[in-house]
């Protein structure tokens, strides 16, 4: 095994494959930094070219492109409140407030550092877990996946302390929004109002742009200000960010573990990795009253997990031949065209094992390269925080419109964006929490699917499965612990109500 690992590493670091890896990383970071360009769309365009290459070069190139998008899209999440991709939504919650406070460099630096660490952890977990991953993944069936999604939803109530009812209602609204379109198990077209545009459902891209990006741009344009409310970014932000990453090393490791785990479980969807990590950080860290107001830990947690999940996603793709996302599905097509045979054969066949380790090495190297490239861009990029609104607003709105248009390539995408943005704007003005809407939207289809599959397969007997009971206990702890903390805090003498 170690011989194969060494061969794989040496193969990837040869000049030509390394060159393709660098090219792939550059394209991946660039695509990630521009909303609507990266991810599966970019991969789909590059795939035909990659399939022409020698296998080792193609692997290096494609891994470079696919696994670094979450590093690149931190720029827009932090600087503009535009989630650059589905893995960077949670980063907006604390990243953008940090930029508003003049701490953009610190936020970006911390993000890139933990992205690199998280990505390497994901690669290491991929390396170490191959022999045992099959039985581990198989032990999680539909009932257990349902409990994971409930765990995700339960975090919303916990995190909306101060307005738990609003948080839960918002999440339910998100779940209902996710039901628009055809219900595969019954064939019913839900909430389509006889409009073919709605048959495919509402796109997550539209939801995240209209809930976060457009309302923030409206607020910026309305007050005619700048992103950063301070006059100077100060010095030392980059170094401070690096120190933050090591200061909160256990958070980084925990979040990376969450991300890897979410990536491993096919069917959970990698767009929840950052949310799970964020929520987990909120629950387990001390003094979290500043989460959502520019706490660097709110950036560290999602950024560490969304890179670690790439390693997790590759585990199931390679070990089972089962892709957990569209990007992984496209990668799988490429691997098969190279003559590789993802699945149990790939792990046990020495001739193929060498490619597996080459993939792992490429994954680790790409994380380091991507972070390095992004670090070099921090200083010029952070100056965006001082651009006046009449520079930022039109450019970001234009990019947002383009990104929304990529959903279905229809003008109705723009109409839907504006309609949902109106809703997102009123959520903000009425002080309803917005993130639960997005989380509910992302988790909703999975909640429904796994509940349905569990009942269809096991009737009500699924409730007594050991995994379900264990996860149920975890959810109960998740819900009760903050209530206990709040009860303890309430023993503190009260102060008179502040004037509104």
């Amino acid at each position: 095994m170690f011989e194969a690992a060494l061969q794989g590493f040496v193969a990837i670091t040869a000049p030509v494959p390394l060159g393709f890896l660098v090219l792939g990383v550059c394209l991946g970071v660039w695509g990630g930094a521009l909303p609507g360009v990266g991810g599966p769309a970019q991969l789909a365009v590059l795939l035909p070219f990659a399939m022409l290459m020698e296998p080792i070069n193609g692997i290096a190139f494609l891994i470079g492109v696919t696994t670094v998008g979450n590093t690149g899209n931190t720029f827009t999440s932090v600087l503009m409140a535009v989630p650059g991709g589905s893995g960077s939504q949670a980063t907006v919650l604390d990243g953008y407030p940090m930029a508003q406070k003049g701490e953009a460099r610190r936020a970006l630096s911390a993000a890139f550092m933990v992205s690199m660490i998280g990505g390497i952890i994901g690669a290491l977990m991929l390396f170490g877990s191959l022999p045992i991953m099959r039985p581990l993944v198989r032990s999680f069936g539909s009932p257990e996946l349902f409990m994971f999604t409930i765990w995700g939803l339960s975090m919303i109530g916990t995190m909306s302390s101060g307005a738990p009812l609003k948080g839960l209602s918002a999440a339910i609204l998100g779940v209902i929004l996710s039901t628009v379109g055809q219900d595969v198990k019954s064939g019913v077209m839900r909430f389509d109002f006889d409009e073919p545009y709605l048959w495919e459902g509402v796109s997550i891209v539209l939801i995240s742009l209209s809930i976060f990006a457009i309302p923030e741009m409206i607020a910026l344009a309305a007050r005619k200000g700048r992103v950063a409310e301070v006059s100077d970014l100060g010095e030392g932000g980059i170094l401070e960010g690096i120190k933050d990453a090591f200061r909160h090393k256990w958070l980084v490791l925990r979040s990376a573990a969450v991300g890897t785990w979410v990536g491993v479980l096919p069917g959970l969807g990698s767009d929840v990795a950052d949310w799970f990590a964020y929520a987990s950080a909120k629950q387990t860290e001390k003094n979290t009253e500043n989460f959502g107001k520019g706490d660097v830990r709110g950036v560290i947690a999602p950024e560490s997990s969304n890179n670690a999940k790439e390693g997790g996603a590759l585990i199931t793709t390679l070990a089972f031949g089962i892709p957990g996302s569209t990007s992984m599905a496209l990668l799988l097509i490429a691997f098969m065209s190279f003559g590789l045979n993802p699945g149990p054969d790939m792990i046990s066949d020495p001739a193929q094992l060498y490619f597996v380790y080459a993939i792992i090495a490429a994954l680790a190297l790409s994380q380091i390269l991507a972070s390095g490239i992004c670090w070099a861009m921090i200083k010029p990029a952070a100056r965006i925080c001082f651009f006046p609104f009449y520079v930022l607003v039109p450019v970001i709105v234009a990019l947002t419109f383009l990104s929304a248009f990529s959903a279905h390539f229809s003008i109705l995408d723009i109409v839907a964006l504006l309609g949902l943005s109106l809703f997102g704007y009123f959520l903000k003005v009425a002080r309803w929490p917005r993130a639960p809407v997005v989380l509910g939207f992302v988790l909703g289809p999975k909640v429904e699917l796994y509940l349905w599959l569990s009942v269809a397969r096991y009737d009500m007997g699924w409730i007594w499965r050991p995994g379900v009971l264990a996860l149920g206990a975890l959810i109960a702890f998740t819900l009760l612990w903050p209530m206990w903390k709040a009860y303890r805090a309430a023993q503190v003498p009260k102060v008179p109500e502040a004037a509104e």
């Binding site: 769309a41 907006v92 919650l93 407030p97 508003q100 995190m159 909306s160 302390s161 101060g162 307005a163 009812l165 609003k166 948080g167 839960l168 209602s169 339910i172 609204l173 209902i176 039901t179 219900d183 019954s186 019913v188 839900r190 909430f191 409206i218 607020a219 309305a222 007050r223 409310e229 959502g292 520019g294 609104f389 520079v391 607003v393 709105v397 234009a398 990019l399 419109f401 383009l402 990529s406 390539f409 003008i411 723009i414 504006l418 943005s421 009123f426 959520l427 903000k428 009425a430 309803w432 929490p433 917005r434 993130a435 639960p436 909703g444 349905w452 102060v495 109500e497 502040a498 509104e500």
Partner: protein, 166 residues
């Protein structure tokens, strides 16, 4: 009873959830159960929230906290100007939608960028740079690499389709 303007939004949420439940009740159970269950629960939660917000508070409490997962809203030093600015930007957004319908998305976006920046005081040079950046991005990435099919526009229907294979 204290009914604030923001409570209207809570009423709106209640109505939306109730309407969703009403529509879903016409479908077969397999398709509607999650909506019926969660939607009804949501109506109850939102109504409870409305009641909490509207009923007079008797107990003294700590300073009211904001929902945690929410971006901070800055101290509004000039609410009238901000409100006016809000209407302005919405006007721009709706106007851009109309412009997209008339001249097409690929042309409307650079025009919007140029005119917005210029309207609010950017120099012509800066406006041109921004508009060219957006145009280059649209043409380079969306047109040449992704080969996007742009939506039909009034101008395109009348003139451009004669000359370009769109």
């Amino acid at each position: 009873m204290r009914f604030k303007p923001s409570d209207l939004f809570t009423v709106f949420i209640i109505l939306v959830l109730a309407a969703a439940v009403a529509v879903a009740s016409q479908w077969e159970l397999r398709a509607s159960i999650i909506i019926l269950f969660l939607g009804s629960f949501g109506v109850v939660l939102a109504t409870a929230q409305l009641a909490i917000d509207c009923l007079p508070r008797k107990r003294v409490t700590a300073a009211p906290s904001r929902p945690t997962m929410e971006l901070p809203i800055f101290e509004d030093k000039n609410p009238k100007e901000t409100l006016r600015g809000t209407f302005e930007i919405w006007g721009w957004l709706v106007g851009m939608l109309v412009l997209i319908r008339i001249i097409g998305l690929d042309l409307a976006l650079p025009v919007f960028v140029l005119s917005y920046a210029r309207f609010y005081g950017a120099s012509w040079r800066l406006c041109a740079i921004l508009a060219l950046m957006i145009a280059a991005f649209i043409f380079g990435i969306y047109d040449q690499i992704m080969h996007v099919y742009w939506p039909e526009s009034v101008l395109g229907d009348l003139f451009l389709d004669e000359f370009f294979d769109r």
